[in-house]
């Protein structure tokens, strides 16, 4: 084993080359990297959010809230069709999984079922999307089918991801990663993003935009008595002033084609918007029929503007004025252009590290790595002398190179605990050397020749080295699969370190010691007595 075999030398040379080639880009500036020819590896060490600063958000799609909103729509649908069919309804009750409609006159049951049956449509597989069931002689249960409900929940997550991406992309922030996690969660990672509150504002709003007419006939009475007509609702504006609005939505955000920051009267900052054809037509009809009256622009259940209609607005464009700053106006425009979220997104977890704190963490990490490294170098040189200790140190340097190279190559993020993992890896990397050297000393003590004891040292230590490192690898694998964020970074570093340390310490020791044997032709082992 301890002769200078050609393939080991080649393997070692390749490892060194690999280490250098993939580590060097980390020391070049971005401009220098861009100037390199295409075939040269350019990937660099990917710093985790805790080291470069940034925000991490874990969002959960609020499926129950979406379900409740969809059930509201069901109730409105039912009210409309039954009204059109002249069926008189006594109550409509929303339950957790459907709507119960109670008829005033049980004789109209046939008529009601027929009218509501028209609401059912089939999906691609011909499965009905809604259920209309008769309950008793005067009640009808109206609900989504289970399949529809499940599909809606799943679609909601996919759509939410898409909308969040659109909103964040238009924000111009680079390298934001948005990923789905589990059934109904979304992870947003924004390196360098220093204002998590802005990030949350941008994605935390559902951005349901509706245009609804004021119920001017009943407003005064209803607001005073508190008795709200069934087809109207009370919403408030920013100052808390209540208004009575028709539930029926004239135009919604879905009909919006473009919003932009514009200028209103008196150089006020305003939001200009444009509807699609359908929206323009409906908006035109509604405004021409209601000149002199008011309509409300409602965002997520809150009135943001309630202008009076001076003339029919037929061109499909309009303007919202209000107390906007450039920042709030452009955030609002982003929201409108991104579209509405199908369901509210709740922030379940948020972590933010400022860029300065990240820099300090890098500095502390670098310092402790340097000191840890130095300690090991000094200790190994003192313990095993220049030759054997030196060989360990060379192995250690190669190990460091290879870890950086591997992490740059696979794009694994280096985190603060990852740096700790790196340092620990260095400490444990010399373990392979210690195992080999101690074996050699054992064998030398047992009276074997230099060559024989070195040979036996390697072959006997190898099984132990493998066993000992597999266990660390198992721990790293578990951290990788069970952990999140920085812990995962730690697992990466530790796991890669196990591989590289076995290669570097064993291979370096074998080749260099074989070379030493060949040239120095020693009579006895320097570390044995």
């Amino acid at each position: 084993m301890i002769h200078l075999s050609r393939w080991k030398v080649i393997l070692l040379a390749l490892s060194v080359l690999f280490g250098i080639v993939f580590t060097v880009p980390n020391f070049l500036s971005q401009a220098q990297r861009d100037a390199l020819p295409g075939w040269v590896p350019k990937s660099t060490l990917n710093l985790g959010l805790d080291l470069q600063g940034g925000s991490y958000l874990l969002l959960e799609v609020d499926v129950p809230a979406m379900r409740a909103a969809r059930l509201n729509n069901l109730a409105e649908d039912a009210r409309t069709v039954l009204g059109e069919a002249n069926v008189s309804v006594s109550t409509i009750n929303r339950q957790s999984d459907g709507v119960i409609i109670t008829l005033s006159n049980p004789a109209q049951m046939e008529l009601a079922q027929q009218a509501m049956g028209a609401l059912i449509s089939g999906n691609a597989q011909g499965v009905a999307d809604r259920v209309v069931q008769r309950q008793g002689n005067d009640r009808i249960r109206y609900a989504f089918s289970d399949a529809t409900m499940n599909a809606m929940a799943s679609d909601a997550v996919t759509q939410s991801i898409e909308i969040v991406r659109r909103r964040l992309d238009s924000d111009g922030t680079k390298e934001i990663s948005i990923t789905r996690q589990g059934a109904n969660r979304i992870v947003v990672q924004a390196p360098g993003q220093s204002d998590p509150a802005a990030l949350k504002r941008l994605i935390g709003q559902t951005a349901q935009l509706t245009f609804q007419m004021e119920d001017y006939q009943n407003a005064a009475r209803a607001l005073q008595s508190g008795i709200i007509p069934p087809d109207s609702e009370v919403l408030m504006d920013e100052t808390g002033q209540p208004y009575l609005l028709k539930r029926r939505v004239v135009v919604s955000g879905e009909n919006l084609t473009k919003a932009s920051v514009g200028q209103g009267e008196n150089n006020q900052i305003a939001i200009d918007f444009r509807f699609d054809g359908q929206g323009a037509r409906r908006f035109g009809e509604a405004t021409s029929a209601n000149i002199g009256r008011r309509f409300a622009i409602v965002l997520d259940g809150k009135i943001i503007s309630i202008p009076t209609i001076n003339s029919a607005i037929s061109g499909g464009t309009g303007q919202i004025t209000g107390n906007y700053t450039i920042q709030s106006a452009s955030e609002f425009v982003n929201l409108l252009n991104g579209g509405a979220l199908p369901a509210p997104l709740n922030v379940e977890e948020s972590r933010t590290v400022s860029a300065e704190l990240g820099e300090d963490a890098v500095a502390a990490g670098a310092l402790s790595t340097a000191i840890g490294f130095l300690i090991i170098v000094v200790f190994m040189l003192l313990a095993y002398g220049l030759l054997f200790g030196g060989i360990s140190v060379i192995g250690l340097v190669l190990n460091g190179l290879m870890i950086v190279a591997c992490m740059s190559l696979v794009g694994a993020a280096l985190t603060l605990p990852g740096i700790a993992g790196l340092i620990l890896t260095f400490a444990v990397a010399v373990d392979a050397n210690v195992l080999i050297y101690e074996r050699m000393r054992d064998e030398a003590r047992a009276g074997r020749s230099v060559i024989a004891s070195m040979d036996a040292g390697f072959s006997k230590a190898m099984a132990t080295i493998i066993d000992a490192n597999v266990t660390t690898l198992v721990a790293a694998a578990i951290m990788f699969f069970a952990g999140a964020g920085p812990v995962r970074g730690f697992a990466w570093t530790l796991g890669i370190g196990v591989f590289t340390s076995v290669i570097s310490s064993v291979l370096v020791a074998q080749v260099l010691l074989a070379f030493w044997l060949k040239t120095a032709k020693p009579k006895k082992l320097p570390i044995a007595e």
Binding site: S354, I375, Y384, G385, I419, A427, K460, D467, T471, E529
Partner: protein, 329 residues
């Protein structure tokens, strides 16, 4: 030799003859007592759960170097917001690693049903009013749903690590070795938890990583001893088991010490220079490595005595040898 005593390795006694097994009983006694104490402490003062596992928020606030944050004022202002537990603690500055009173961590709960973002904004306003302009360098908020899940997955990670180690040792060695190794691991994990409680270190995700690493290291140590033990069992077929164990421990002792000392020294450097974020982590690792080294000598190997072990290589008759105080009846 020009330089006497160098390399240092020559100073270590070449052949030690410590009778480790002889002290196995008192050691076991101490270990059991410590483990019980550690377990009790996990419930009695209880773990100092970080927001990872308990939910809530932590803000790191800092003023420019030299200016002081009045911790009492901050605590008072945040407490007035009625958020349940509020903790305010001064820490060392990240850039200089010196505690000059200019940096603090504020921890609080987010009451059920309140909006995270709004609560954090309120707290930030309250802090600014109490102590003047500050910067927020690290803000972490974990909802109660997520924290519960993180805690469960942490426990599962620890459990599955121990389980997998057992399987590995069982396949590579023999069941007895597996039991010995697992006893050692459980011992290390429990004592590390004890340390975390006693020093009021914050139990967070990072701490779980530390414990998993301790498991890896302790196992590493145990495997080295077991490897030699297995080899010696084949080599010295007539030697009483306890003597083979002693011999194997002595033979691997120099390696155990050198590797352990290296790791502990390096972790000490990490604890001193790595800053606040890594302090608890490095302390737990350092302690765990010392305990792990102890356990592979005094828990892992002696437990094999309790079970006895099949002797000899494949050609052997494989008859269990019963011996001394500890063989199974």
């Amino acid at each position: 030799m020009a330089m006497r005593g160098w390399p240092l390795i020559k100073l270590l006694p070449q052949k030690t003859n410590f009778r480790f097994v002889r002290y196995a009983k008192p050691a076991a006694f101490i270990s059991v007592i410590l483990c019980v104490a550690a377990l009790v402490s996990c419930f009695m003062p209880g773990l100092n759960m970080g927001i990872d596992f308990r939910g809530g928020a932590s803000l790191e606030v800092a003023k420019p170097a030299g200016q002081v944050i009045n911790l009492e004022d901050v605590r008072g202002a945040v407490s007035r917001l009625d958020l349940g537990d509020v903790g305010v603690q001064g820490i060392a500055r990240r850039d200089t690693n010196i505690d000059d009173g200019s940096t603090a961590i504020v921890r609080f709960q987010i009451p059920e049903g309140r909006d995270q973002t709004a609560v954090v904004t309120d707290v930030e306003t309250a802090i600014s009013q109490a102590t003047g302009q500050v910067t927020y360098s690290g803000v972490n908020v974990v909802g109660s749903k997520v924290s519960g899940e993180l805690f469960m997955s942490g426990l599962i990670a620890l459990g599955s690590a121990i389980g997998l180690m057992f399987l590995y040792i069982w396949f590579r060695f023999e069941p007895q070795f597996g039991f010995g190794a697992v006893a050692g691991l459980v011992h290390d994990v429990i004592l590390t938890f004890g340390l975390i409680v006693v020093f009021r270190l914050e139990f967070s995700l990072t701490m779980v990583a530390a414990i998993l690493t301790v498991i890896g290291y302790s196992m590493n140590d145990t495997v080295v001893v077991f490897d030699r033990l297995r080899e010696n069992l084949r080599k010295y077929k007539a030697m009483p088991l306890r003597d083979v164990i002693d011999l194997s421990l002595n033979e691997t002792l120099s390696r155990t010490i050198i590797t352990g000392v290296t790791a502990v020294m390096v972790l000490a450097a990490l604890a001193v220079f790595g800053g606040e974020a890594l302090f608890g982590f490095s302390i737990a690792l350092m302690f765990g490595i010392i305990i792990g080294t102890y356990s592979s000598i005094y828990v892992g190997a002696p437990i094999i005595l309790l079970w006895g072990v099949k002797r000899g290589g494949p050609s052997d008759d494989a008859k269990p040898i019963k011996l001394g105080m500890a063989s199974r009846p």
